[in-house]
Symmetry: C2
Subunit: 410 residues, 2 copies
């Protein structure tokens, strides 16, 4: 039912590349040399929008291309191995990604650390000598689930696939801060600035990617250079990305060039008025809650309506569940649209409080149509909401009712 | 120092494919259709042996090609994210891999389950309805480390890279057995038969891949269809592989077509005389220990001699450690050739008893040459051996002394 593909994703991708209409994919140099992305986008097989050039190395059969800056993972391809392969991971950029050349010498990338007793410019090589830790976390776009809000807020209509569970390695921010003498007094925020090129002739604050999170979030934050066992691709923020586990995607600033402890939140529009939970029909205001900590959320990835009618007999209902800031402790599954619930098993490795857990429930469904839903409870007893409040930006939809799926048994 | 590549692995791979001398890589069909691997092997950039066609989708810069059946992961590319990306995972085949067409309809693949009360032929679709679990484990070739034995036993001279830590999902064998009425009395072994095509005109037993493990190993075994979040590529045993966590690679039979509970071990040569711990200079005998459970082992992946002279100042020594059948509990690092030891930190997610753990030690090395070693102790107190006994097949080398590395500080 799931994963009906006859050939491994990599082979399929290779085939796409070899067989694309634009056979003249840029031939680039040997490893270690600066290289350029291919000029031509890679066409998907089914006539869907092609992958943008800067992520042409991803698996087109796993992804839904909304735009050059927004690419979603198909619900049907989430496997049951906890970690989302990088080739299938969603993309959301607020500005165009920098050229791949910024990874020509990864260890030379520089970040300014400010708001500490001894502010310094540090290279990635410096950071690599300071410490190492690894964290698994749900990376989720603030707008994931927007497509389930009845009011159809503007912005990408993500369903479940603007999220993945991935592994980051780098140096703990707290180790860097300790080496630089500690945070200066009175600093309430950790503010990260992205290394994107700002278009000329406009006030940088209107477009720059600069996000502030409460300084307490420093405790588990990393300056990361590795994603899922490989150097971070530029598309995902390499050579260096701030990772703030438990916080929505936008706070994990890519190609970070400045990490500053600040008394106030960034003056950038993306912080002041963007990514705020604003009542429907109103304009964003800095006084409203920022999209920071994620809420408990779960969803079912199998079976799905697109699998077609299910065979009679047993079925394993499976999906993913996370708590945001606290571990997922318990998952329930309903096969009757939320009227009754059965406890599912949490299966596979527990990769820590910021990771998602896989869940599974063996059950039997009679012939007919069934609405399947899942609901997670975190370790503090907080239960996934039935419905998330609509808001102008369409952010933070975690309601279990909207995430349900309808399947038919033959 | 590590991962000096300027461009993401996937981009590099794409570049290799696009730029290879054989630009006429077979153009194959759309997803869901049977496809053929490319006719021409993919050339590595540096003049090394090209990747065999059936694994041409792997990252050539991450791998050392010994032969068509033996491909090793470079020590320098093991990251610090616990899980080894499939594109970097080693390959060892005892017979040529079946054609990729065996995954044309993954759910239709059949396995005969025998030695149970109600023996049955089951499809992968049947298995998917029976249960689901996920296990992370070290997959390691029995001969990993052979290249460190002074006697230079015949066989591939693997160093550390015939191993990886990967995630498998499938149905627990115990669930399948329970559904079929339980194991027949008197069965002491679980015997798995691979789906390779046996050359005509020879006694199948001389070449067939059929391995037996003690029936107790069933407890944590899976019939797996997923590797690292994607359907298992044929090169790694898809559509269905027996996974016996803690047991050396050869026992995890690929493209499994028969799972039988048996009173005796398989009559196949690979079981009777192959993969036995045999004194140097003697012939393998069935009475000798089979290569089954793995022993505690660890090694350092950074820094390495190939990084060149290290900068003065701090260095983070890092590597991987596992216990085989029990969790890694403690890792020590020596920077003076084993004369003294310091305790390293275990970092990142603990993915269960069969996975490896990442370890790291922040230290400072003075100018000069240093021999770095690591030594793991498992949760039962068993310590990684200083030296593994030489044996005719060059199997199971886990000695910490041989796995040391020499680095120089400028």
């Amino acid at each position: 039912m799931k994963n009906p593909h006859s050939v491994p994703a990599n082979l399929r991708r290779r085939a796409m590349l070899a067989g694309s209409a634009s056979a003249a994919i840029a031939v680039v140099g040997c490893k270690g040399m600066a290289q350029t992305p291919p000029a031509a986008p890679v066409a998907a097989a089914n006539g869907a929008k092609p992958l943008p050039a800067y992520v042409s190395w991803k698996d087109p059969s796993a992804l839904i291309v909304h735009s050059a800056a927004t690419v979603e993972t198909k619900r049907s391809v989430f496997g049951s191995s906890v970690v989302t392969p990088t080739s299938q991971l969603y993309i959301r950029n607020n500005l165009p990604a920098p050229p791949v050349e910024i990874t020509a010498d990864r260890d030379a990338w520089e970040v300014n650390v400010e708001g500490v007793r001894n502010p310094r410019k540090l290279t990635v090589a410096d950071l690599k000598a300071m410490g190492l830790d690894t964290v698994t976390m749900v990376l989720q776009c603030s707008g994931n689930g927007r497509g389930f809000f009845p009011s159809k807020p503007s912005g990408t209509a993500w369903k479940v696939g603007a999220a993945g569970c991935v592994v980051w390695s780098g140096v703990p921010v707290r180790d860097v801060v300790a080496a630089l003498g500690g945070v200066t007094g009175g600093m309430a925020y950790m503010t990260s600035t992205g290394g994107e090129k700002i278009p000329e002739g406009i006030d940088p604050r209107t477009v720059m990617v600069e996000r502030s999170v409460p300084v307490e979030a420093m405790a588990d934050a990393l300056l990361a250079w590795e994603l899922n066992g490989e150097p971070i691709p530029v598309a995902h923020g390499g050579p260096l990305r701030v990772i703030v586990p438990g916080y929505a995607g936008v706070n994990n600033v890519k190609y970070v060039k400045r990490l500053a402890f600040t008394a106030e939140q960034s003056p950038a529009a993306i912080q002041q008025t963007g990514y705020r939970i604003t009542p429907l029909g109103e304009k964003h205001k800095p006084s409203e809650p920022s999209v920071w900590e994620m809420a408990p959320k779960s969803w079912i990835n199998s079976p799905l309506p697109e699998d077609g009618p299910l065979r009679k007999g047993g079925v394993v209902v499976q999906g993913v569940a996370f708590g945001g800031m606290h571990p997922a402790a318990r998952v329930e599954v309903s096969t009757d649209g939320g009227a009754s619930w059965k406890r599912a098993r949490l299966i596979g490795p527990d990769m820590g409080r910021y990771a998602w857990r896989q869940f599974a429930l063996n059950t039997t469904l009679p012939a007919g149509t069934h609405t399947l839903m899942s609901r997670v409870t975190d370790s503090t007893g907080r239960v996934q909401a039935e419905t998330s409040a609509e808001n102008a930006g369409g952010y933070s939809n975690s309601g279990w009712r909207a995430h349900g799926v309808q399947v038919t048994v033959a």
